[in-house]
Amino acid sequence: METTNYQNFRIDAENICVDYNGKVALYDANLRLKPGQICGLVGMNGAGKTTFFNALTGFVKISKGKIRINGESLRSAQKDQTIAYVPQNEGIDSQFPINVWDVVMMGRYGSMNILRCPRESDVQAVKDAIARVDLTDHLSTPIGNLSGGQRKRTFLARAIAQRASILLLDEPFAGVDIRTEKLISELFIQFKNEGKTILLSTHDMIHVREFCDLVLLINKTVVAYGETSEVFTPENITTTFGGISPDFLFGPES
C-alpha cells in the first residue's frame, strides 16, 4: 500500500505550491519530519515561512502538491487535534478582552462539544499546561497585561493543552525575556523526549544550531534541507538570504 510509506512521517509535504491571487508565495516545497525531530525553518522576510505554516495548518489552500500528516489528510489531522500552532506575538491582538485561562482553554475546543463546555479532563489539561509554562499566578490576567514572554508562554500552554503531536512555532524566541527563552528551551527538550515533532521559524542562527536536528532553508522554495550540521553552511545561508553573507547577517562568529 502506498500510504504505509507516509506513515513513518509525522509531516510529509510534497511539492507544495501556494499562490495568492496568482502571485507565487511558495513553490515545490518539500518537508519530511519524523516523531521527535525538531526542524528550523529559516529564510528572509517574505521568503514564504508564514506561508509554509499557513499551508501546514490548512489556513491557505495549496495550489499544487500534497500534505500528509501521519499518513492522513490535513483535515483528519485537524479533527484529531494533531497540529498546534503557536503564533508570533505580533500576530495576536493583545488588546482582546481575554485572560490566560480562556486562551489556554481554546486549545481544548477541538475536542469539546459544540457549546465548548469544559469537562473535568479539559480543566485538568488546562491547569497542567499552565503550570508547565509557569503561569499559574496569572490565570485570570488579561493577555493585554502580560509581558511579551508571558504571552508567548500562554500560547505555548494552549498548544500543550491541545496535546498535539506536531507543534508549529512562528518565531518562538522573538521578543521574549531570558527567563522565557530558558523555559522554552527546556520545553523543547521535553517535547522531543515525548516524541513530538517541532517545526519552528527563527531569525536566530544560534538557536538553530542549539536545538534543530534538521534545517529547512527557504527562499520561495527550498534552498536546502537536511541535517543541521550538513546543510547549515555559509554557502547555503548566503543563497537563502539572497546573496548576503552570514558574516554580514549575524556577525563573524556565526
Binding site: 495548518t57 487535534q81 482582546f96 478582552p97 481575554i98 481554546m106 475546543y109 477541538g110 459544540i114 493585554g144
Partner: protein, 290 residues
C-alpha cells in the same frame, strides 16, 4: 397639586406606557438593541465596524425587491447583505484597490440602487421610514417578524458564542483544531444581515450602523473579559433604547436619532470615566489604582 403629581418621576415613566404604540416601541427597540448589542461585541473585536456599515446599507435594495415580489423583508435583505460582502471580497481579490475603498464603493452602490428602486417601484414603502426607522408605527406582522428574527440571531450567537470568540481572536487556531472557519465567517455575516433587517424598523438603515458599533465599543472600554463585554454591550444598547424612546416621547424628538444619541452619550461617559481605559480613570481617582 395636579401639576406636581404630573411631574413626578413615576408618572413620567408610567404615562407613556398607557399608549399601545409606546409599549410596542419599547419592546421592539429593546429586542433590536439586544440583538445588535450582542453582535456588536463581535464586530468590534473582529474589526468589522465598516463591514457592519456596509451590510446594513446594502440590504436596502433587498428590502425593496422583497417588498415588490411579496417575499419576507428578511430574505431579500439577507441575500443582498451577503451578496455585498461576497462582492467586496471579489473586488478586493481581483483588483489593487484597498479594502476600505472597496467597502465604501460597494455599499454606496447598493444603497443607491435601493433608493432608485424605491422611487421606481410603485409601492407603499416609505423611504423615510427605511432610512430613519419608525419604531412608533410598527405593524403587528413586523412585531412578529422582529421577535422571530431576534430570537433566531440570539440563539445562533449563543450556541456559537465561544467559536465566534475564537474566530475573532485567532482564526488560524480555529482552523488548526478543525473548527469550520468558513461557516463561522458566514454565520457572523448572516447574523449581521438579519440584525440590519430588524434594526431597520427600529432606528432605520443609517442609524442601525450605530447600534452595531457603539455598544460594543462602549463595552470594550469597560472590561477585560469577553463575557462581561457581551453583557455590558447588550445592557448599554437596551438602556439607551429605553432612554432614547422616553426622551423622544417627552420632548417630541426623532426616535431613532434619540436612541443613537443616548448610545453616544453612554460611550462618551465610558470614554471619559471607564475605570481602566477612560481618560480620567475613575478607579484611580478614588483608590489611587493605576
Amino acid at each position: 397639586m395636579e401639576l406636581c403629581s404630573f411631574l413626578t418621576l413615576d408618572s413620567l415613566i408610567k404615562d407613556p406606557l398607557a399608549h399601545n404604540f409606546m409599549r410596542k416601541a419599547l419592546l421592539m427597540s429593546s429586542l433590536v438593541a439586544a440583538v445588535c448589542g450582542f453582535l456588536s461585541s463581535y464586530l468590534t473585536l473582529k474589526g468589522w465596524a465598516l463591514m457592519g456599515d456596509a451590510v446594513s446599507h446594502s440590504v436596502m435594495p433587498g428590502v425593496v425587491v422583497a417588498y415588490a415580489l411579496g417575499l419576507p423583508f428578511s430574505l431579500g435583505a439577507f441575500i443582498f447583505g451577503v451578496g455585498s460582502v461576497a462582492l467586496i471580497g471579489f473586488i478586493k481579490q481581483k483588483s489593487r484597490v484597498k479594502e476600505d475603498t472597496v467597502i465604501g464603493l460597494v455599499f454606496t452602490g447598493f444603497f443607491a440602487l435601493g433608493i432608485v428602486l424605491v422611487s421606481k417601484i410603485k409601492s407603499n414603502i416609505d423611504l423615510h421610514s427605511i432610512l430613519f426607522g419608525s419604531p412608533l408605527g410598527i405593524s403587528l406582522s413586523d412585531v412578529k417578524q422582529t421577535i422571530f428574527i431576534s430570537l433566531l440571531v440570539v440563539m445562533l450567537l449563543s450556541i456559537f458564542r465561544k467559536d465566534l470568540m475564537l474566530y475573532c481572536f485567532d482564526p488560524r487556531h480555529a482552523k488548526t483544531v478543525g473548527i469550520n472557519v468558513f461557516f463561522l465567517h458566514y454565520l457572523l455575516l448572516t447574523c449581521l444581515s438579519l440584525a440590519a433587517v430588524v434594526g431597520l424598523q427600529s432606528v432605520g438603515i443609517i442609524l442601525v450602523v450605530a447600534m452595531l458599533i457603539t455598544p460594543g465599543a462602549t463595552a470594550y472600554l469597560l472590561t477585560d473579559k469577553f463575557d462581561n463585554m457581551t453583557i455590558i454591550s447588550v445592557l448599554s444598547a437596551i438602556i439607551s433604547s429605553l432612554i432614547g424612546i422616553y426622551f423622544s416621547f417627552w420632548f417630541d424628538l426623532e426616535t431613532g436619532g434619540s436612541i443613537v444619541l443616548a448610545q453616544t452619550f453612554i460611550f462618551l461617559f465610558a470614554f471619559l470615566f471607564a475605570p481602566r481605559y477612560g481618560i480620567f480613570k475613575l478607579k484611580k481617582l478614588f483608590t489611587g489604582y493605576k
